[in-house]
Assembly symmetry: C2
């Protein structure tokens, strides 16, 4: 029985890894389609979407089965509920890659607005965060998970920089507006991909420590107590 | 024991309702701050954020406790895992309201770009979807849940319309660019709020039917089988 449960947990790990790899590849292809102006690569992202979605459902079904049949407690329970959450984050990453691919197809029909440097850099940061967050999950590596969460700021500030630069482009030359808006949207999609990696990192810390660090919980509870006293 | 479990499930329902109400109010306030050009209302959204986040954590903790101590199966198990997912959707709705409030504060420092009609309409549609999806959850009302999911298309097409209209504004008058981009971002935030309500609707259908309709699963599985055969 015990060994059977271990085998099921391993199957769950494998599905998550597989899903993370597909989601990461989708992000790579979507940004590559933009950089290399290659619509076929964007089409490949659309083709991968079904597999990512199917994996989310398989992960959910496996987790529900494990919860019902194995009735896990403590760290096994946290592992399984985290896996469900991670599946849902990875599904969103796949969706965001599809969004990027969609914008890319529109953009590559027009002349390039500017050489792309920051967007591929953001994409590679975000992908690295996804990869590391999954490694942190499987190895229950709290330190790596924290490092992932810390890298989110870098992605956010790159996105702000891209946004400001593109606003300037539009103001100087209104003929660039729709292309600039497209690139702004891609920057935001990448920022959200990094947010999902951060969510996964937070789940790993919860898994290892048995307590949540989401929303800096202790700070919130302290503040709630202060507010309650003030009333 | 049984009655104690029922009381705990009721407490979970109440927390979800409370959270949904806070999240909805945040959306109302954020859009109102923009429409009435009132920064204090946007500040109120920031104040509510902590409570929304705290409720997500309380809901998660309660669900983990119920999973560990009551070891629910079948429909109770689905109810509890759906509640966790819904908590996370509502937390994202609260975040998106904060994003809208942030953009609003920037926009109301400048002259109005145009009378706001479509954005408040989108907001009220999205809020109605959140409210109905929660009612569907608590009453296990599959029909209402499906109606919520169907309304998502209306929000999407309003958002497309807003986007195209604002692009025209920018092209005709580049001095409107940063305000138009702000409104485009608010449109997208509202669209995502409606997406979260749709996720909740899908969770309700899963809860009632015991099978997922996410990503049109049967269609995906059929396609995967066809692909596998073709290889």
């Amino acid at each position: 029985m015990e060994r059977q449960f271990d085998a099921e947990l391993n199957a769950l790990n494998e599905k998550l890894f597989h899903m993370a790899r597909l989601a990461e590849e989708s992000v790579t292809l979507a940004v590559k389609s933009l950089k290399e102006r290659n619509e076929a690569l964007a089409q490949d992202v659309f083709k991968k979407e079904g597999s990512v979605n199917l994996l989310e459902i398989e992960i959910d079904e496996l987790c529900m089965k494990l919860l019902a049949l194995r009735q896990p407690v403590a760290s096994d329970l946290r592992f399984i509920t985290s896996a469900m959450r991670i599946g849902s984050d990875l599904e969103r990453v796949g969706d965001l890659a599809v969004n990027i691919a969609g914008v890319s197809i529109g953009l590559i029909k027009q002349p390039p607005l500017k050489p792309l440097i920051d967007i591929p850099r953001m994409a590679s940061l975000a992908q690295g965060m996804i990869k590391d967050s999954l490694n942190a999950f499987v190895n229950r590596d709290e330190k790596l998970a924290r490092a992932v969460c810390e890298r989110d700021d870098e992605v956010d500030s790159l996105n702000d920089q891209i946004f400001r630069e593109l606003l300037t482009y539009m103001m100087n030359d209104p003929s660039t507006i729709d292309r600039a808006v497209g690139l702004i949207l891609i920057g935001r999609h990448l920022e959200r991909i990094a947010d999902h990696a951060t969510n996964i990192g937070e789940d790993v810390i919860y898994l290892v420590l048995g307590k949540t660090i989401k929303h800096h919980i202790e700070e919130i509870r302290r503040q709630a107590a202060v507010n309650a006293e003030a009333q």
